[in-house]
C-alpha cells in the first residue's frame, strides 16, 4: 500500500477547484482518478513532474467540465445566467432602501450612537450590497444544481467585463484634476466576487452533506 506523505499530496488548490467545477456526483471519482495517476507519476518521475501533470490535468478538466455544463443544457444555462442579472437588477435599490429604513427607524443620529450613524451612512450601503450579492449567488447556486459554480463564474465574468468597460468609458475623458474613482471600481468588482462566494458556500454545503450521508 502506498503512503500519502505530505510531499506526495496533489496541489490542494487545484484539487479544490476541480471539486468545485465538477458536479457532486462526479467530484469523488474525478479526484480519485487524478490522485491515483498523480501517485503513479510521483513514484516514476518525482514530485515536480507529478505536480505539474496534476495542475495541467486540473486546468484542462475544469475547462472541459465548464464547457460540458453549457453544451449539455445551453437553454437552462442561459436562463440561470439571465436569472443572476435579473435578481441583481430587481434588487439594485434594496441595500440603500434597507439602510435608509434602519436610519429612519432607529434615528441613531439623535442619541449617543452618533459614531454608529456615521459608520452606517458611510459603509452601510456597500456592505449591504455585498451581502445582497452573496445571497444572489446562493439563490442561483441553489437553483442551478450541478452547474452552480460554472453559472456564477459566467455571471461574474460577464459582469466584470461590463464593469471594466463602463469604468474605462467613464474615466478616459476625465479632467486631470478629478481623481480616478478606483474605490468605485473595487466596490463593483467586490459585489460580483461576492456572488461567486455565495455559490461556493452552497456548493461546499452540498459536498459536506453528501459526504455526511455517504459515511457509514
Amino acid at each position: 500500500m502506498r503512503q500519502t506523505e505530505p510531499r506526495s499530496r496533489p496541489p490542494h488548490l487545484v484539487a479544490w477547484l476541480v471539486e468545485l467545477f465538477a458536479s457532486t456526483n462526479q467530484s469523488e471519482s474525478i479526484l480519485g482518478d487524478l490522485h491515483e495517476e498523480f501517485l503513479d507519476i510521483y513514484s516514476e518521475s518525482g514530485v515536480v513532474a507529478a505536480r505539474r501533470w496534476y495542475r495541467r490535468q486540473g486546468v484542462k478538466s475544469i475547462a472541459h467540465l465548464a464547457g460540458a455544463a453549457f453544451r449539455d443544457a445551453p437553454w437552462s444555462f442561459a436562463a440561470f445566467v439571465l436569472l443572476g442579472f435579473l435578481l441583481r437588477w430587481f434588487g439594485a435599490e434594496l441595500p440603500a432602501r434597507a439602510i435608509d429604513a434602519i436610519l429612519r427607524a432607529q434615528r441613531p443620529y439623535s442619541n449617543e450612537h452618533y459614531d454608529f450613524y456615521v459608520w452606517l451612512v458611510t459603509w452601510g450601503t456597500p456592505i449591504a450590497r455585498v451581502i445582497e450579492m452573496t445571497l444572489i449567488g446562493c439563490i442561483i447556486a441553489a437553483i442551478a444544481r450541478g452547474k452552480e459554480i460554472v453559472v456564477t463564474t459566467t455571471v461574474t465574468a460577464i459582469s466584470v467585463v461590463i464593469v471594466g468597460w463602463n469604468f474605462f468609458l467613464h474615466t478616459r475623458n476625465l479632467p486631470p484634476q478629478i481623481p480616478i474613482p478606483w474605490g468605485y471600481l473595487l466596490a463593483s468588482l467586490a459585489n460580483w466576487v461576492a456572488t461567486l462566494l455565495g455559490a461556493i458556500i452552497i456548493r461546499e454545503v452540498r459536498s459536506l452533506s453528501l459526504r455526511l450521508h455517504s459515511t457509514p
Binding site: P10, Q26, I30, G32, S61, A63, L65, A68
Partner: protein
C-alpha cells in the same frame, strides 16, 4: 428521436474504450486506453463529461467501487456499455462505413 441518435466523435472513442476494458473501465483506465491507442492527450474532465452525457442518454451505466488509499480514500466509478449504447455504436459505425464505402481514401489522401 433517441433511436436515431448518432454518437459524436469523442463519444464513439469513449464507448470503444469502455467496451475494450470490459469490467475494468473507470476514469484512469479509459483515459490511458484512449491516449495509448489514439496518441491523443485527453483530460480526465473530458472523459467524465462524455461518460456523464452517455449515461444520461442511457448508453452507459456506472457503479461505484470501494474507496482505496491509492485514491486518497475515494472510490472508483466503473462504467459498462448498455444494450442501447451498443446499438447506438453500431448505428454510428454503420453510417460511417456506408459513407466511406467506395472512397479510396488511402490512395487519394496519403
Amino acid at each position: 428521436m433517441p433511436n436515431r441518435d448518432y454518437l459524436g466523435e469523442f463519444e464513439h472513442i469513449v464507448i470503444l474504450a469502455v467496451l475494450r476494458l470490459a469490467d475494468q473501465a473507470y476514469g484512469v483506465t479509459v483515459r490511458r486506453e484512449i491516449e495509448s491507442r489514439t496518441r491523443r492527450g485527453v483530460s480526465i474532465g473530458a472523459i467524465y463529461a462524455t461518460l456523464d452525457r452517455l449515461e444520461a442518454k442511457g448508453y452507459v451505466k456506472s457503479q461505484s467501487g470501494d474507496p482505496t488509499p491509492e485514491r486518497g480514500g475515494r472510490s472508483k466509478r466503473f462504467f459498462r456499455v448498455t444494450a442501447r449504447g451498443v446499438s447506438a455504436f453500431n448505428r454510428t459505425h454503420r453510417a460511417l462505413r456506408s459513407l466511406t464505402e467506395g472512397l479510396d481514401l488511402l490512395k487519394s489522401h496519403s
